[in-house]
């Protein structure tokens, strides 16, 4: 233990604490709490019953007050630890509360009513996970549908992105032709055109093509990413041209060269682009919000935001579905974080 502490608290030069060391640790620990805290709070909250969610002050972990059904009472009653005047504690069920006094009964002897000052009783609480927060939205609401839509959009868009962008990158890295620099310029220019600038006309084009209220309307405008073309082209430039000449001598068609030679060799870059694309498409919000207006077509992001914007928000469901929405990205983060961080550091693009 001491060793670990020494390792973690290791300082530059091994001398005394410099003020920068203090700032560093303050920043790191503060960062840890601020960056992870909210997500962890979300996960804990998502496991609470609606009643527990409404409590203030809230408990950190999902506790519920235990209830019992007692003879002679229709509704289940809350269990409390009650302090008796003689100093002992008994587990009693509350029948009703009048002012500062609670009328309670022993579940085993329901006939006798015990009066307890409300400050002398504390609820009997046990940890309990409200898993129905997760199952209900799938069973009773459309969330299974939304999940499927999100998965469909993400997978299909990523596959098309990989194919279309790698084809373009292949053309731009391994062929000499007249319009090449113009094509590069066009692709570069599209970096400057974010969705928010072309929302209105793009919507009209999508409608004209009959893609309004279609998942394809969500997918197609996103698949030709300039970032993707650049990442792949940069990588393909490192594949020796002699390899392609060799394949040509080997009677390979250009399509075969692309498919059998260039694509397999571009696998690392394709993996990076695939990860990026999955995260992008999974997280897309504004464009699906515009294109999809029928409930059964919503993606998770759209569904969530619509439900959370309703008048009486069912937070227990929303929180659980937020966690579900977060899961793939967290998995990507845990397993592929290194790919992404090096990818971003290398290209400066998100």
């Amino acid at each position: 233990m001491g060793k670990v502490a020494r390792f973690i608290l290791r300082r530059k030069g091994g001398q005394g604490w410099h003020w920068t060391d203090i700032v560093t640790w303050f920043w790191l620990v503060g960062g840890l709490i601020i960056m992870f805290g909210p997500a962890i709070w979300l996960v804990f909250s998502s496991l609470k019953t609606p009643a527990a969610l409404a409590e203030f002050p809230p408990s950190i972990l999902p506790y519920v007050t235990q209830q019992v059904t007692v003879e002679g009472h229709d509704k289940p009653l809350m269990l409390y630890n009650a302090k008796m005047p003689d100093g002992s504690t008994r587990v009693l069920a509350e029948v009703r509360r009048i002012g500062l006094v609670a009328q309670m009964v022993d579940p085993k002897a329901p006939a006798e009513i015990v009066r307890v000052n409300i400050n002398d009783r504390t609820p009997v609480r046990t940890m309990s996970f409200a898993t129905e927060n997760y199952t209900q939205p799938f069973v009773h609401f459309d969330f299974l549908r939304y999940l499927w839509n999100s998965v469909f959009v993400t997978v299909v868009a990523t596959l098309i992105t990989l194919v279309v962008n790698s084809m373009a990158a292949f053309a731009l890295s391994k062929y000499e032709f007249k319009g090449r620099s113009i094509a590069m310029l066009v692709i570069l220019a599209t970096l400057m055109v974010p969705l928010s600038v072309i929302m209105v006309p793009l919507y009209s084009i999508i409608s004209t093509l009959g893609l309004f209220n279609s998942l394809w309307g969500v997918i197609l405008p996103t698949v030709a990413t300039p970032t993707g073309v650049f990442i792949l082209r940069q990588y393909m430039l490192t594949i020796p041209d002699e390899l392609i000449d060799a394949a040509r001598m080997d009677k390979a068609s250009e399509w075969q060269i692309y498919w059998r030679i260039v694509l397999p060799l571009t696998a690392p870059a394709l993996a990076v682009l695939a990860i990026f694309s999955v995260v992008w498409r999974w997280n897309d919000f504004l464009w699906p919000l515009i294109v999809l207006s029928r409930r059964e077509l919503y993606t998770l992001q759209v569904g969530l935001s619509i439900y959370s914007g309703e008048l009486n928000v069912q937070w227990h469901f929303i929180l659980a579905m937020t966690v579900v929405t977060m899961i793939p990205v967290v998995l990507v983060f845990i397993f592929l974080q290194r790919f992404i961080t090096t990818g971003i550091a290398g290209t400066g693009l998100k």
Binding site: L28, I187, W255, L304, S305, F333
Partner: protein, 334 residues
């Protein structure tokens, strides 16, 4: 000979499809030659770019000069620059409420303050984070991951997480309660909500910029620091005289990148506040979205005009960024 691997079995149908595609493509190659195949490979991308980026870009100008609520261009009337003059019609240019499109000017004002505050705080915190992550830390990649974590979260998730924390029974009020302070409904207070939008977008994106700055820091040759250490230079002086000047080009790119993203702020804020309370967190993209699609009195022409104005700002920023990038590249070459 060899037992086929799992991937070979999985790829078999794909390969079969590719072989089938190859038959007509070989014929195409015969007809067009190798140069023609280059066009073939480029075509899908160019088609998608053309239809979904370039065409909209052109149509956008046409839209901005038409009126009415219909969405199809053929059903819209040409009205020239009226949408623009509507956007710019104000009695007093210092007071957004005196303008005909007061929502637009409110959004412009909000966006302006948001960009100003968010970008400066973003660069400051990202720089501090990067400097700290660049120190000799134990488990550095873990700490890097800590700050990077929110970057991948979807805007909707970010918005909902913070909406949940800032609501009346939320974590923030719980914290205040622990210190004996009264809970507060943060998201009904105009100023606090605005502050929250900045805080939340900092939380969500700071790690991204920190990562880029960190890459810049790590590109600074170590021997410079060693030389400074040999000379007994004070750390503060090392920062001002070595780190900052050498980081400047990288930092400049980060600033412009942050500006470009910040001007377009929408998703997480929309989920968090919906632009409210009132119009206190109504930003430009939301204005365009609501004017074009969501409001009862939708006006695509006006939305297009507003988006073109915003696009102009973004183009200027992007050109600055490219200019800086070019200069940095040339410097590297020399």
């Amino acid at each position: 000979m060899t037992t086929p691997s799992l991937s070979a079995i999985l790829m078999a149908p794909v390969n079969a499809v590719m072989r089938m595609i190859d038959v007509p493509l070989r014929r195409l190659q015969k007809a067009t030659g190798i140069g023609g195949m280059a066009a073939f490979f480029l075509a899908p991308n160019m088609l998608i770019f053309g239809v979904f980026v370039l065409l909209p870009l052109v149509i956008n100008f046409v839209y901005s000069m038409t009126g009415g609520t219909a969405f199809f261009l053929s059903e819209r009337d040409f009205i020239g620059g009226q949408q623009y003059s509507r956007l710019f019609q104000c009695q007093n240019y210092l007071d957004p409420m005196s303008c005909q499109e007061d929502a637009f000017w409110t959004a412009v004002g909000n966006t302006f303050w948001f960009v100003l505050l968010q970008v400066s705080l973003m660069i400051l915190t990202a720089l501090i984070t990067a400097l700290i992550l660049n120190r000799e830390l134990a488990a550095r990649s873990f700490w890097r991951a800590v700050f990077f974590f929110p970057v991948l979260l979807s805007p909707v998730v970010v918005g909902l997480i913070w909406k949940w924390i800032l609501q009346r029974q939320g974590l923030l009020n719980f914290g205040l309660y622990q210190f004996g302070l009264d809970p507060y409904t943060w998201l009904t207070d105009r100023n606090w909500t605005f502050a929250a939008t900045i805080g939340v977008s900092l939380w969500a994106h700071m790690g991204f910029y920190a990562l880029i700055i960190l890459a810049g820091l790590q590109a600074i040759p170590k021997d410079l620091y060693e030389a400074a250490e040999m000379d007994g230079t004070k750390p503060a002086r090392v920062f001002w005289r070595i780190t900052l000047p050498l980081l400047a080009p990288n930092l400049l790119v980060v600033v412009v990148l942050a500006l470009i993203k910040s001007v377009q702020v929408f998703d997480e804020i929309y989920v968090l506040t919906g632009g409210g309370p009132g119009t206190s967190t109504l930003f430009l993209t939301q204005y365009i979205y609501e004017t074009g699609f969501a409001s009862a009195l939708r006006n695509p022409g006006l939305a297009a005009a507003a988006s073109i104005l915003m696009g102009g700002v973004l183009v200027v920023l992007t050109l600055i960024q490219l200019g800086i990038g070019k200069r940095g590249e040339n410097k590297g070459k020399r």
